[in-house]
Amino acid sequence: MGLPLFRAHDDPGPSFVAFAERQGLVRTGEAADVDVHATTVVALRYASGVVMVGDRQATGNYIASRDVRKIEAADHFTGLAISGSAARGIELLRLTQLSFEHYEKMTDSSLSLEGKANYLSPIIQRNNLSSPLLVLPLLAGWDHNAEQGRVFEYDGAGGCYERSDFATIGSGSPFADGALRLGYRADLDLESALELGALALYEAGDNDPATGGPDFVRRIFPMMVVIDAGGFRELSSDEVERRFQVISERRAESRGVAGGSLR
């Protein structure tokens, strides 16, 4: 690639996608050969940020991988989770991370959280309208202007919707959603939010064959992420294990019955 210089009237500006399309770096409309999907990721707001919890399993006709990372830091204050086609999802993650950094370097300022959420809409739309491999992301982050955590979900046509409480993506959503709907309160503190997020994922893993629950044999656990005014932070494997251990022991005591309350 030569030095990409543009005239003022056709300059692609700080958008990496606009630039990459011009250069032919990004291709749309080609079907990839692997179609690995199914997932559960939840994002929920708490008093001073957002919590994201996601399973680690990639499922096709069999379990393709047990330690996929479906949540990544799109930048220091933004988490991005993917569901759907793994090939497309990972590409979307890479493109998004690069786009936010590109914007920051070109303009010497960060995009607003809403700007980041809106930026993804046309990318999702183009991908999903031109390819049979669907990908749906979930974006959550800390909004410096509003001084709060915010959660955005998308539909297949690229529509972006902000959620005031929580959002879920993937095939395990109905089960995770159920747990979140019953357990969610507007004033959750961090510890309760982590506990509820873990429980929602446990439920999804327990009921959805394509969602990986905590794997005590291999010691592979769902990813747990906190994003607050201090930025994106992933919980250590030990911290995650401890939380799932508690849920698992409670379930063992009641012989697998949730017990009519959020346990």
Partner: protein, 225 residues
Amino acid sequence: MSNYFYVSPEQLTKDRAEFAQKGIARGRSIVGAIFDKGVVLVAENPSASLNKISEVYDRIAFAGVGKYNEFDRLREAGIRWADGTGYTYSRDDVDARALANYYAQYLGDMFTEGQKPLEVEILIAQLGGKLRPTKLYRIAYEGTISDEPHFVVLGGDAETIKERFAASAPELESLAATLRHAVAALAGPERTIPVSELEVGVLEDRGARRTFRRLRDDEVSGLLG
């Protein structure tokens, strides 16, 4: 009927060089220097928002003097090139030397073929790591590229500033000492530059992927002591 006058290549080059030098000399200078843990870029810049120094990639920074619109366009092209290359191949494959060569070719082309030569000088700094050494590449308005071992001065007053800096900082020092000597060299004996008119960027390993950082005014005054 139009008249064509013969102009010898020597004369043409001389005229163009004079034109470019005059344009560059109008702006303030920049010092880029390697210190014991990284690279520091110091610009005298009265504007707090129109930057002369910028991040390009994980371990690469850009500095430009001369006409703002001209070097800013080159800065943007550099970021696009770096992000595009890293996206196509790997982040490890983005090399400052390749970028410096592209700049050199472009500036060389504009000098000989353009309507007018670009009135800019560019510095591409690379922080060394496992794969590549720490480097300072200076690219002049006519496309001359040079690889400086310790420090680079860009701008109209380069020669004087160069002598002052070389005399005060003959070898690698700490960030604070390097910055102090760079600012003193930029200012000269009769002048002091207020901190608000300094733009300082640093490439330094701090455990993160991205190594570029702008120093805030209070950090700069702290380091200057």
